[in-house]
Structure formats: structure tokens, C-alpha cells
């Protein structure tokens, strides 16, 4: 029985030991909120479809700490973002800047939409020029159908 109690005690203590390693909570909630806003716009490089704010990857934890310290040093959001892009490229930004290499990314969807609308207009205007009988469902298309209808 004593062994069981010892085991239970050890398990509780093990929990306590882990608890010590938990992420450092914000000493200043306002700073933590600003940090999370910036981190929410940055891509985690390790788990690429998460933000640095969401990710539990080691690197994301380090980068959040880095942002915290940079904010404490009084750096602006813009300075922190450029610090990140200097190291990891525009790829870290979920909102990449508009420039030659990212132009297709930004205008691509617009171009596709314009192309699709253009094609739709073309088809519609073509159809408008067709006679009303082209849309008559009862008109037989070819000789076979003509024979079948008869």
C-alpha cells in the first residue's frame, strides 16, 4: 500500500515538475496582446499552415519570445515585421507586400474572375444572336431523333 502512495506522490510531483516548464505567461497583458497580434500575422516556418501565435513548435515559441523582447525594447510593429522578413523572406507574412514577385499572387484571382466573366459574356451574347427556335426543347437535333419522334 505504501508503495502505491509513493507512486501517486511521485506522479503528482512529476506533474509539478512539468508545470514549471510551462510557457512564461505575460507579465504585461497589453504587451502580450500586441505580441499575439503580430505573431498572428506571421507564418510558422516549421508547421507551415499555422501562425506563430497558434503554433506550439519550438521555433514559434522562440520567435514569440523574440517579439516580446523586441516590443519591450520599444520597437514598432513595422520594425518587427521587417526583422522577420529579413530572416525568413516574405513567405513569413500572411499578408505579403505587393511587388513584382508577388504580383501574380495578388492580381491572379482578379484576372481569373475577369476571364470567367468575359467568357460568360461572350457565350451569352452569342446565344442572344441565335434564333428563338435554337432553344426550343422540342426541336429534333438530327435525323435519328427525327425518326424516333415520328
Amino acid at each position: 500500500m505504501a508503495e502505491r502512495w509513493l507512486l501517486a506522490l511521485l506522479l503528482v510531483l512529476a506533474g509539478a515538475a512539468f508545470a514549471k516548464e510551462a510557457a512564461p505567461l505575460a507579465t504585461d497583458p497589453a504587451l502580450e496582446a500586441r505580441m499575439m497580434t503580430i505573431a498572428g500575422e506571421l507564418r510558422c516556418l516549421v508547421c507551415q499552415n499555422q501562425t506563430i501565435a497558434d503554433s506550439h513548435a519550438d521555433l514559434a515559441v522562440d520567435l514569440r519570445q523574440q517579439i516580446r523582447e523586441m516590443l519591450q525594447r520599444g520597437m514598432s510593429d513595422e520594425q518587427i515585421r521587417s526583422y522577420m522578413t529579413e530572416r525568413y523572406g516574405d513567405f513569413v507574412l500572411y499578408k505579403p507586400p505587393f511587388k513584382a514577385t508577388t504580383a501574380l499572387l495578388w492580381v491572379g484571382p482578379g484576372l481569373l474572375l475577369a476571364g470567367a466573366l468575359g467568357a460568360l459574356l461572350l457565350v451569352l451574347s452569342r446565344r442572344q444572336r441565335l434564333g428563338a427556335d435554337a432553344f426550343d426543347p422540342d426541336t429534333p437535333d438530327d435525323a435519328d431523333e427525327l425518326a424516333a419522334n415520328r
Binding site: L45, E86, Y88, G89
Partner: protein
């Protein structure tokens, strides 16, 4: 007939793009550090924490920086290649022991061989952040002026060493 060929053609173009996309690796983020000065550092040595080394001591020679850790399995696969490459004596290779425990790092080099001229310690990953490291191992080639000329993400392969790094190092040294 044309009205059936058009969707087919569009489908083929789309399939072509998707097929090409399959062969791209989204993990390969082009480093913005290429052709930029290597970020400054001042690091303690793994073998002797009492000594420090800085980036400025490296100016004037071509060198390779390999970021590794004892906990990183791909580093283990890559390590024999580095040991062999170091034996050629083409270029000094410096190690950066990234987010590792000193004893574990030293143990790793003891059991798998030490290809590094010196190994720098980066226990909290700060130097790694400055170098844009996001997946160990990573390897950099830095020229005489302290400019990063090449970066390889992930474990080195014999092809990368023979076709990319070796010719580049020879050219930079030449």
C-alpha cells in the same frame, strides 16, 4: 466538336500545373539571406565555454557553417558526409550546435566523428533565428567578405556537395 475540346484542353492545362506543383517542395523557402552579409554573432565554443568566437574573426576566409543538433535525426544521416567532406580539406567547416545540451553535443561528435574546425554553441537558438534557421540541419557557404553565398536546408546529399558546394567553394577560393 470544339465545344467538347475546350474543356478538355483547360483540364489538361490545369492537370499540367498540378503535376508540376507536385514536384515543388513547399518546405523550401528561398532564403532572403543569400548575397547578404552573414549576421553577426558572438558564441561560446562547444568544447570550451570559456572561449568566444565572433563572425568578424571569420572575415578573410571562405567557410561553411553547418547548423546541427544531437536531437536531430537527419543530422545523424548527414554527418558521415560532412566528415568525408572535411577530410578533403577544401574549406573549413564550422558547426553551430543549435538548441542542444552541451554534453549531448559533445557526445554526438565523440561517437560520430568531428568534421568541424570549431563548434559554436547556440543553446537558446538566438543565432539560429538570426540566420533564419527553421529546420536543422542547414548549411551555409560564406565568402571572404562575410557574405552568404549559398544555403542548403535539410540534410546534405552527396549530389549537393559535389555539384553545388564544391564548385562554389573552389570558385570562391580561386
Amino acid at each position: 466538336m470544339m465545344r467538347f475540346l475546350w474543356p478538355l484542353a483547360l483540364f489538361l492545362v490545369l492537370a499540367g500545373f498540378l503535376f508540376f506543383g507536385l514536384r515543388l517542395d513547399p518546405r523550401e523557402v528561398p532564403s532572403p539571406l543569400i548575397d547578404k552579409p552573414a549576421p553577426a554573432f558572438s558564441a561560446t565554443l562547444l568544447a570550451d565555454p570559456g572561449r568566444r568566437m565572433t563572425r568578424d574573426e571569420m572575415v578573410g576566409k571562405v567557410w561553411m557553417l553547418n547548423v546541427w543538433a544531437s536531437w536531430c535525426a537527419p543530422c545523424r544521416d548527414e554527418h558521415p558526409l560532412l566528415v568525408d567532406f572535411a577530410k578533403k580539406g577544401l574549406v573549413p567547416i564550422y558547426g553551430l550546435n543549435y538548441k542542444d545540451q552541451r554534453s549531448a553535443g559533445i557526445g554526438f561528435l565523440r561517437s560520430f566523428g568531428n568534421p568541424f574546425t570549431e563548434t559554436l554553441s547556440d543553446p537558446d537558438g538566438r543565432i539560429g533565428i538570426d540566420y533564419g534557421v527553421y529546420g536543422v540541419p542547414e548549411t551555409y557557404v560564406i565568402d571572404r567578405g562575410g557574405v552568404i553565398r549559398y544555403k542548403h536546408i535539410g540534410p546534405l546529399t552527396p549530389e549537393v556537395l559535389a555539384e553545388k558546394i564544391e564548385p562554389l567553394v573552389r570558385r570562391l577560393n580561386g
